[in-house]
């Protein structure tokens, strides 16, 4: 659905390979999606930071906080970068009138958070066995 019918509109300054200016609503929606991922990523980083620096140490497992917090911070950084790449890919698809690729960010987020939750549960158990 490349925009060829509305030839009256002034040509947008785009590269030849870059398609045409998409409906502004789509551009806005894509940007909001990026910002939502960006906030998610900031929340993950802050959560990891808080686990490492605010939580009292697990009794008997001194490295426990780092084991939970570090993956959270790394996931946050990854979500931020992947969110940008996804925005960029979606914008390109919109410009070219191509279908957008399915996002793998939800799977990455759900999978990693599940993994971290399991590790946290195991740590809590190990800590209660070792401590006191």
């Amino acid at each position: 659905m490349a925009d060829t019918s509305t030839s009256e509109s002034p040509p947008a300054p785009v590269k030849a390979s870059d398609g045409s200016e998409p409906d502004a609503r789509f551009t806005f929606a894509n940007e909001r999606t990026f910002l939502a991922w960006s906030r998610t990523s900031l929340a993950l980083v802050v959560a990891g930071l808080a686990v490492i620096q605010l939580l009292p140490p697990f009794p008997g497992v001194p490295w426990g906080r780092h084991l939970i917090g570090t993956p959270l911070i790394l996931l946050g950084a990854a979500v931020s970068v992947l969110g940008y790449r996804e925005w960029s890919g979606n914008q390109r698809a919109l410009r070219r009138g191509e279908p957008m690729r399915q996002s793998n960010l939800p799977r990455l987020l759900a999978g990693t958070v599940t993994g971290i939750a399991l590790v946290a549960a195991a740590l809590a158990l190990l800590s209660s066995l070792r401590g006191h």
Binding site: Q53, P56, A77, S80, W87
Partner: protein, 107 residues
């Protein structure tokens, strides 16, 4: 009535308004984080508060007509900010493993 090529011609500022609000939410997230950290570590809190102003201003910058797509550098800057905070968080967490944190001081 001539057919409008651009939805913004018929209905100015609804999608744009929502997007602006999303930028505001994002800036508030940084402001809240900065304020929380400021309490214990002004050295780390002030830069994050400054970043919230940067994000706020990025959301307020007008889009040039016909180039609504040309926001890549702003989004790239936001990505760099989050990644930078993640990097600082990682470094301080490993440097200060024994005695609380450098960013958030425990106790």
């Amino acid at each position: 009535m001539p057919p409008a090529d651009d939805i913004e011609d018929i209905d100015p500022g609804l999608a744009g308004e929502r997007t602006h609000l999303a930028w505001t939410r994002t800036a508030i997230a940084y402001a809240a984080l900065g304020a929380a950290i400021l309490k214990n570590s002004p050295v780390a809190g002030v830069p994050i508060l400054a970043l919230s102003v940067v994000v706020w201003e990025l959301g307020r910058l007008p889009r040039a007509p016909g180039t609504r797509h040309a926001r890549a550098w702003r989004l790239l800057l936001v990505t760099a900010i989050v990644t930078g905070i993640a990097l600082v968080a990682l470094i301080t967490s490993f440097l200060s493993s024994g005695s609380g944190g450098l960013l958030i001081k425990h106790q």
